[in-house]
């Protein structure tokens, strides 16, 4: 289909035959001041870890070390939980709901004021394109704090006919794909409901969470209300297993989510989980095709595909499949993979060498199985750093690993269908149930499909939209509970 693609590296030839050349447009890093060694934020102070151990955090765009982070051990976790308990039994709970709200509003405002710094730091630590951290992550972070700040003095309206109270100390463990945004999703509703928090960011992306600690300090919250500790799985496990934690909120893989669920069965801890997905993007033959192509592209390649709700399975109606795949190839050839700090970059760096190897392994296995593979030949990857081309597999069987397992990278699996029933059956044929997309110009078809899909978030004629007011979370093995909106607050209260 179309012309043979150019195999030279001059970045000028896509499948469509023409592509603009772009000069580099790197964002400045002047705003960012990274400490060489970072401490833990416990009880309102920056404290050294008890173990004296540190680990490196790197910039995935070039593999260079950014800073050293403290490895918090069991003792540090205990100090953080004790500080949170003390704040919960004292200063934070003694504030009026109105005053608690004021503090959360302050956090939102300081985030807006320091947005450039936060965006650049997020991109350096995570590898996501600056246009995404600048235009999506950080504005959403501020919006989340702003939204939940207003709930703090309106909790009487949260649950019809009942009063609510905070749960206590929440241990929160978050992933590396949207580092600061996930911190906001966790901290903002917890504080609004009157809880105190111990947050553990992911070990590869802790820098913006630590900067949030500074912002919380600037906002003047009572010491211990929010504690931020760095470390890897062992630190997270110590937090999950701490006897004085009342609630665990985890975002991450289904595999780790199940380990956490098992480790809390003998306790009274409350648990919410936002886990993996293998979300289907259904395109009917009566869809607005060019818009649908854009949506499928952003659905899977946004944030390098490191999105739990990524539209990683495309279900396209058989009658338009060839045309759609042709359009998709052409669009993919114009995606720019490269320096995340470059304002023109569409796809940045994969967050860590381990993740990159995992994605490459799954791709190699599927190619070895003889599944039809495509990646745009004209895409040029930088020499240094962890990068991969956007790709898809076509005519994938439902039983194939790439159709069942969450890849968490820029890899799409394409299947076809002939009837709405078949589309729905295939879409629901997964243990997950996080999200789904539907493209059709027919309203009744959109609604009937949306009703039949077993997923917590349905994007109809759009994809990957998020808002603090909109509940997010999955069915089945995609997790327990919702985050966002009024429903997200229910995870942080006891109903009396």
């Amino acid at each position: 289909m179309g012309k043979t693609m150019s195999t030279n590296n001059n970045k000028t030839a896509g499948e469509s035959g023409f592509q603009f050349e772009y000069d580099p447009a790197p964002e400045s890093t002047d705003m960012v001041n990274i400490k060489k060694q970072n401490k833990l934020f416990i009880n309102g102070k920056w404290m050294a870890g008890k173990s004296g151990k540190f680990f490196d955090t790197i910039n995935p765009a070039n593999g260079e070390k950014l800073a050293e982070l403290t490895e918090a051990n069991t003792e540090d976790v205990d100090r953080a939980v004790k500080a949170a308990r003390k704040a919960f039994n004292g200063a934070w709970s003694e504030l009026s709901p109105k005053q608690r709200g004021r503090y959360i509003y302050r956090i939102a405002r300081i985030i807006q004021e320091r947005s450039r710094e936060l965006a650049v730091l997020e991109t350096m630590d995570n590898g996501k394109p600056i246009k995404e951290s600048r235009d999506f992550d950080i504005p959403q972070v501020a919006a989340h704090f702003f939204y939940y700040a207003g709930w703090a003095d309106k909790l009487d309206y949260l649950f019809n006919g009942k009063s609510v109270s905070p749960i206590g100390v929440a241990g929160q463990i978050i992933p590396w794909n949207f580092p600061l945004l996930m911190a906001a999703w966790k901290i903002a509703p917890a504080l609004a409901a009157g809880n105190c928090v111990v947050l553990k960011p992911a070990e590869t992306t802790s820098l913006t969470a630590l900067l949030l600690g500074e912002i919380i300090e600037e906002a003047g919250l009572p010491p211990g209300t929010v504690n931020i500790i760095t470390g890897a799985g062992a630190t997270g496990a110590a937090l999950v297993n701490h006897p004085d934690v009342d609630k665990i909120a985890f975002t991450g893989s289904t595999e780790v989510g199940k380990i956490i669920a098992r480790s809390t069965v003998n306790s009274a801890k409350k648990l919410t989980l936002e886990l993996g997905g293998k979300s289907a993007h259904i395109v009917y033959e009566d869809a607005a095709l060019d818009q649908a192509v854009e949506s499928v592209v952003s659905g899977i390649y946004f944030n390098q595909g490191h999105v739990c709700c990524a539209g990683s399975r495309l279900l396209v109606e058989e009658s338009i499949a060839d045309l759609f795949v042709h359009k998709l190839k052409r669009r993919m050839a114009s995606l720019r993979v490269g320096d995340p700090l470059d304002k023109n970059t569409d796809i940045g760096a994969i967050n860590s060498p381990g993740e990159l190897e995992k994605i490459k392994g799954l791709i190699a296995d599927a190619i070895a199985d003889g599944i039809e593979y495509f990646e745009p030949e004209s895409t040029v990857l930088p020499q240094k750093g962890y990068y991969i081309k956007p790709s898809f597999f076509n005519n994938v069987a439902s039983s194939a690993t790439i159709c069942r397992r969450e890849i968490f990278g820029p890899v799409l699996a394409i299947q076809t269908f002939r009837t709405p029933e078949e589309a729905i059956r295939k879409a629901n044929d997964t243990p997950y149930g996080l999200a789904a997309g539907i493209w059709s110009e027919k309203g009744s078809k959109i609604h009937s499909t949306a009703q039949a899909l077993k997923a917590g978030v349905i994007w109809a004629n759009t994809y990957n939209k998020f808002d603090p007011a909109s509940p997010f979370g999955g069915y089945n093995e995609s997790g327990w509970g919702r985050e966002g909106g009024r429903h997200g607050l229910l995870s942080y209260v006891e109903v009396k």
């Binding site: 649950f159 917590g456 349905i458 759009t462 509940p471 979370g473």
Partner: protein, 287 residues
């Protein structure tokens, strides 16, 4: 057969399981005796349901889910109300069973039936209201219509020890099916004699077969299999021991079943919320 200690001319009822709208005996051919509370005479041989019976019941519940959840909420409410009517009509049989097998006084038995009737009527009225109470239209930034609606979680398994409280048991059953879920309920040991009249309430209320399935037998023998079954979406422990509850939670992790464990609760919104998923739909607004 129930009431064997009656006179010779009394025709006693054979108590069987209730699966997929039919009344099969256990495929295992096993039974266990239940004795009257007072005289310790044989009351009936109840079916000792097997793992295969439990799997059959889950299969029946699974195949009923699409039909039941796509009934109109009004229709589900009417069917629940019909259950209240049927329970009222069988009051004396329920009272006799409570008195004979559980040793309730006449008043206690009458109160239990009253509470059961109240629960059916209460949730009959909730079937077409909880959506408005807990759903939402969300004010997102940007040109999108965004709304959140509750949906049934799917197939619910419920484990009831013989320490059950009838009003709460009916509350749970009614709150589970009012939102479109289907149910497999295991009633354990001597408490299970109540299954006979209860199954007849469901069988005569225009409830589609498979929506509610009732098993009698031993909790110890079956709970692990119900908690680990991959087609059960949620599991509810009613008055089970702490050790069993912890094991249920652990087995439930296989497919991340929603586990609902509550002490005594009053009928209310929370009981409906325990068995729904929230779905949020986005659609652009524009020309």
């Amino acid at each position: 057969m129930a009431g064997l200690n009656g006179t010779n001319t009394h025709v006693a009822k054979t108590i069987k399981l209730y699966i997929g709208g039919a009344f099969p005996r256990t495929e295992s051919g096993r039974s266990f005796p239940v004795y009257t509370a007072e005289s310790k005479k044989l009351y009936a041989h109840l079916c000792r349901a097997s793992r295969k019976d439990a799997r059959n019941a889950v299969a029946a519940a699974k195949s009923a889910i699409n039909g039941w959840s796509s009934r109109s909420a009004y229709n589900r409410g009417q069917i629940l109300y019909r259950m209240a009517e049927m329970l009222e009509g069988k009051r004396s049989e329920f009272v006799d069973t409570f008195v004979e097998t559980l040793g309730y006084s006449q008043d206690e038995a009458d109160n239990a039936v009253d509470e059961g009737i109240d629960a059916f009527v209460y949730y009959a009225g909730f079937a077409d209201k909880y959506q408005q109470v807990i759903g939402a239209v969300n004010p997102v930034s940007g040109p999108h219509h965004n709304f959140t609606t509750p949906e049934p979680v799917g197939v619910v398994a419920m484990l009831g020890s013989d320490k059950f409280h009838f009003g709460q048991l009916i509350s749970r059953i009614a709150s589970i099916v009012c939102s479109g879920n289907t149910l497999v309920l295991l009633l354990a040991e001597k408490g299970a004699a109540i299954l006979a009249p209860l199954a007849e309430v469901f069988a005569t209320s225009d409830l589609p077969g498979g929506v509610i399935n009732l098993l009698t037998g031993f909790l110890d023998e079956l709970y692990i299999h119900m908690a680990s079954h991959m087609e059960v979406d949620s599991i509810c422990c009613e008055f089970t021991e702490g050790e069993i509850t912890a094991k249920v939670k652990e087995e439930a992790v296989h497919n991340l079943k929603r586990v609902v464990v509550t002490p005594r609760i009053e009928p209310g919104l929370q009981s409906v919320l325990d068995f729904v998923e929230l779905k949020t739909v986005w659609h652009p607004v524009g020309f």
